[in-house]
């Protein structure tokens, strides 16, 4: 258990050290310090993981109170850590992928000067610390602390190029949009506090029934918590910060948008699943928000030209899958996708960074092409990542996505509609991934001679993480193969203690709804069996679904190769023919514009109204009015009363005496 302290606080210590001394340490030392700390943390995370694995499954739930954060009356909250299978997987991913990204960054950020370089590693280490606080939290107070720390450090990292206005704006946007979600999360925590009187995960989640099965209170709590998850995991309509966050350095995108921050929402929902399970309404909302985000983001990714932007929308879409999975109660599948996605998406982002590095910052795929020979390592590793993302059979993405889609169709809360959206997203994913790969690496180059000739493979510190991640991206999938392919289910068995309390699936309203729908749809004839227990995985259905996805992926690969690897006119013709749709997707469904109109301009308008009417009119009016009144009164006294005529003074004196005398006599004071 003590190794957890090293895992958590070593990155913080080096962050502080780098901040204080970084500029004087030089690049070698400050990067070395940062990398060493995260690598050591990874080592200790492995030790914690093994220590946990040595315990019998039922006891894999270790709580480590460190110190008291707050103690008010009967309520107290400790800064305490929780190590269970869920957080053990998370710390492995965060420190493991984090360490690789640190190594990569050491080379990627080489061009910055010493002070900036040290600042970058300070932020990276601080981010790792924040994320570890979030995943290791043992109560809602600590998880919220980590949640906010992640928000701050992501703001710092996204806005790292602080002299660039767009980067600074993107950082602000990420922070502010996240705050909207945080508000929900915080209110959810307050509801929990008021109902349970404690914030401790173990006490709250094991007695979650207190909220009442299907009660409005349970729905409210779950939806408020989910609002927090929507912010961090960038679900529609709080997704707008993620694509803009590509303004940060590419390793940051890999760290934040693949392995860590964005998975926090999914992690939190999985952590609090006991509350979500109480409310079918909340579960349905979660599932549909996830499915919609998956489809929505994939549709935008179809037409974007900026390779990092395609990756950003792809991340949104994959997060949608994860959220949909936890929404249909397939926590293991969702978490498995989170796990595999961490590897292959980090790989893809780092690949994008490698391409960008080779081409001096070029990100527009329409200007690339033919890079296959020039950047062999980047190409092959990118291809592996792309294969995982699009779901080529026997890659990790294939297994995890298949698990989610199977549950979406046949799981306890699944429905045909969710599956259709998921399947459509899978097809779109294969399309945009194919487009990206073929446009960037295949065909004739569209780069100018100078750039193309000077494009060269990245140095070893950048290539090595790509290779390691490629191996992990392929390998991770075999931990969670479908039952009929493999007897051993290491991933599912590992997480089983965490999700042991999930009730045996019953035919939910969605499954019942799906049954009649299936008669109309020929795509999934087996849906009628949706109501049966999930333990008996339907091999026939599973195989048919897999064959279907394989066909879809193969078709998309063929189509995109034909369209984008050669100079085909078809895509452009298609874009022209469907210009309104193309414009809609190109402009990301105008969500940013809508927000600008409603929130930004609305707020500005309201502020102006307040400025003109309330502040300048009312407040200033009162203040100036006091001044005017005093001035007027003074003028009256000075000019009218104090006029210098002795006889007037005498008259006033007399009048005063008469008046006072009259008063005294009248009221006999």
């Amino acid at each position: 258990m003590n190794s957890l302290l090293v895992v958590l606080f070593l990155p913080l210590a080096t962050a502080i050290l780098n901040r204080l001394l970084g500029a004087r340490l030089g690049k070698r030392l400050s990067a070395g310090l940062a990398i060493a700390s995260v690598l050591t943390a990874f080592g200790f995370a492995v030790a914690s993981f093994l220590g946990l694995a040595a315990l019998p499954p039922g006891q894999r739930h270790l709580v480590m109170p460190l110190w008291s954060l707050l103690s008010v009356g009967s309520f107290s909250a400790d800064f305490s850590l929780l190590l269970d299978p869920l957080s053990a997987v998370m710390i492995l991913v965060v420190t493991g992928v984090g360490a690789l990204i640190h190594v990569y960054s050491a080379a990627y950020m080489e061009e910055e000067d010493d002070a900036e370089y040290a600042r970058f590693f300070t932020y990276l280490n601080f981010f790792i610390f924040s994320m570890l606080t979030l995943v290791l939290a043992a109560n809602f107070m600590v998880i919220f602390t980590g949640w906010e720390l992640v928000g701050v450090s992501s703001y710092l990292l996204i806005g790292f190029y602080r002299s660039k206005t767009s980067a600074a704006d993107a950082g602000k946007k990420a922070f502010i949009v996240n705050r909207v979600g945080d508000l929900g999360f915080l209110m959810g925590i307050f509801v929990i506090l008021s109902q349970f009187g404690t914030l401790d995960f173990t006490q709250v989640l094991s007695h979650a029934d207190k909220l009442g099965q299907g009660s409005a209170l349970a729905t409210l709590t779950a939806l408020l918590l989910f609002m927090g998850a929507m912010g961090k995991s960038a679900q529609f309509p709080l997704h707008v910060w993620l694509p803009d966050a590509m303004e940060g350095p590419t390793p940051v995108s890999a760290l934040i948008h693949a392995a860590t921050m964005v998975t926090a929402g999914v992690f939190m929902v999985a952590r609090c699943h006991a509350i979500f399970e109480l409310s079918p309404v909340a579960m349905r909302t979660v599932a549909w928000v996830g499915a919609f985000t998956a489809l929505f983001a994939a549709s935008i990714a179809l037409v974007q030209n900026d390779i990092k932007r395609v990756m950003a929308y792809s991340t949104l879409s994959q997060l949608g899958y994860m959220v949909m999975a936890v929404g249909v109660g397939a926590y293991t599948a969702g978490f498995f996708h989170l796990f595999t996605h961490a590897f292959f998406k980090a790989l893809l982002f780092l690949g994008c960074g490698s391409v960008m590095h080779a081409l001096h910052g070029e990100l527009d795929m329409t200007k690339m092409g033919g890079l296959r020979k020039k950047l062999p390592i980047t190409f092959w590793t990118f291809l592996i990542g792309a294969a995982c993302l699009s779901g080529v059979p026997f890659t990790s993405g294939f297994f995890s996505k298949d698990a989610i889609l199977y549950e979406a169709l046949d799981g306890p809360h699944g429905s045909l509609g969710l599956w259709l959206m998921g399947a459509l997203t899978a097809a779109m994913t294969a399309f945009y991934v194919g487009r990206l790969v073929f446009k960037t690496f295949f065909g004739k180059t569209r780069l100018d001679h100078h750039t193309f000739d000077h494009a060269h493979e990245s140095a070893a510190p950048m290539a090595a993480p790509l290779l390691i991640l490629a191996v992990l991206a392929i390998g991770a999938g075999f931990l969670g193969m479908p039952r009929f392919m493999s007897k051993a289910q290491p991933f599912e068995e590992w997480l089983a203690p965490v999700f042991a309390d999930v009730k045996a699936p019953e035919a939910g309203p969605l499954a019942a709804m799906a049954a009649p729908a299936a008669t109309a749809a020929e795509v999934a004839p087996a849906t009628a069996e949706a109501g049966k227990p999930e333990q008996g995985e339907d091999v026939g259905l599973s195989l048919r679904l897999m064959a279907f996805y394989t066909l879809v992926v193969a078709f998309m690969a063929w189509l995109t190769y034909k369209w984008f690897a050669t100079e085909s006119g078809t895509p452009n013709a298609l874009a022209l023919a469907a210009a309104p749709i193309h414009q809609l997707l190109w402009n990301k469904w105008y969500v940013d514009e809508l927000y600008d109109l409603v929130f930004v301009r609305g707020l500005l308008g309201f502020s102006k109204l307040l400025l003109r009417v309330v502040d300048q009119g009312l407040i200033d009016g009162v203040v100036n009015g006091c001044g005017w009144a005093a001035q007027g009164a003074g003028h009256f006294v000075r000019v009218r009363l104090h006029n210098g005529y002795a006889r007037f003074y005498a008259g006033a004196l007399l009048a005063g005496v008469v008046l006072l005398l009259g008063l005294v006599l009248t009221f006999s004071l």
Partner: protein, 100 residues
């Protein structure tokens, strides 16, 4: 011997004449005479009430008033003469340099 009411009414009348004189005349000398009239109206009231109430306090007060009036006239006349020397004019309405 007239009654107390008559004496008090007379005192009031003299006081009002004096007050009106102060308010309406512009010659400081006349205004001083009017102020004297007001003092003496008060003195008259004091004496009458002293007699009426069989109390000696009113008569003591009269001496005080006469002493104050004498001092006041001495200071006042000196001021008027000083002003007349510098301004060559003693119209009170023209003496308004101290206005706000």
């Amino acid at each position: 011997m007239p009654g107390i009411e008559f004496t008090l009414a007379l005192a009031g009348l003299i006081f009002c004449i004096g007050a009106l004189g102060v308010l309406l005349r512009r010659d400081p000398l006349v205004m001083f005479i009017c102020i004297e009239m007001m003092f003496n109206a008060a003195n008259l009231a004091f004496v009458a009430l002293s007699e009426h109430l069989k109390s000696v306090q009113g008569q003591v007060m009269v001496f005080l008033v006469i002493a104050v009036a004498a001092a006041e006239v001495a200071v006042g006349l000196a001021i008027i003469i000083a002003i007349f020397r510098t301004e060559k004019d003693v119209n009170v309405d023209h003496l308004s340099e101290l206005k706000g």
